[in-house]
Amino acid sequence: MQQEHNDNTLLDEKALANSLFSEAALSAFEAKQSQVPNDYFEHFENQIMLEVKKRGSSAFILNISKFGKIAIAASLLTIATTAYFFIPSYNKADDIALNINLQDIPTAEIDEYVNSNEIVAEIDWQEEINNESSSLEKLNSHLFKDSNNIQ
């Protein structure tokens, strides 16, 4: 029933189009679209199969290149990591320092720099002294124990 209704609707709509634009003109349009070169469809089939095979092989290359991409990314990462650890870091501050003349630096700034580093140096020395004295004390106590054992 539904199919019959669809068929009737289709026929009605085609009749409407034919009445509006002339059935002959619509048929002529279709006839023109149906013109293809001789043996076109036979050749088309072969053409498609060739194209599919060609693209199939290029798809294989693409698969390889996917792995290749991963390998390249891994290599680059390794190089970057290695470079980070092994290539001596280039300190731009050193380069700048070379271009600075000592006479150009204000005395107050030099004094401040020396003073602050002296404090650091004092603290360092104090630590070293403390360490040395503690290790001497340990040595003394060992010697004292040893001498007791001898007795």
Partner: protein
Amino acid sequence: MNIKDKALNLYGKQLSNFTSMLNDQELIMQFKQPQLKEAAFTQLLKRHQQKIYYQIKRMVAEHADADDVAQQVWIKVWNKLDGFKMESEFSTWLFRVAYNETLNFLEKQKKQSAHNLSEDNIDYENAAGNSNDPKATQIQIALEQAIQQLPEKQRFVFMLRYYEELNYEKIAAITGTTVGGAKANFHQALKKMEEILKKD
């Protein structure tokens, strides 16, 4: 031809005879098996290539363009058919692929011509390609020009309905619209063509 070639030829013919007896659904099942893939695809191609080509040609007008788009369609089918879930008929899916590829082509063509020509200079008469046909009557030329001026979707729907005689459910599935939308597209196409013809 040696014995091996003869055997292969015979095997190919038998396989071709066998596949020609299968319906689309069975061919798709075969396509999913690597050793039968090519034979199944060739059979589907043989069965549907003309309809697809003609539908594309109605849209793009030139044979060379229709050939290009048809090739794109079948290459896409080869690449995507493994994922086809058979929720619709194969022919519906195939027309949908053709619809998308045709719209892509027309879009590219439009961009190119917009690049080369201003909108005012587009010559619909030459685009229709009918002016040199001595046998064409005035109404044929006018009709072809009117068809060329329809929006792509309306044109596609009109061709599917009038020439392919598809039902609206199928047309709706192909063009990604509702049944009502497909009907509206067909009738809008008729109305617009009528207006264009009246203007001329």
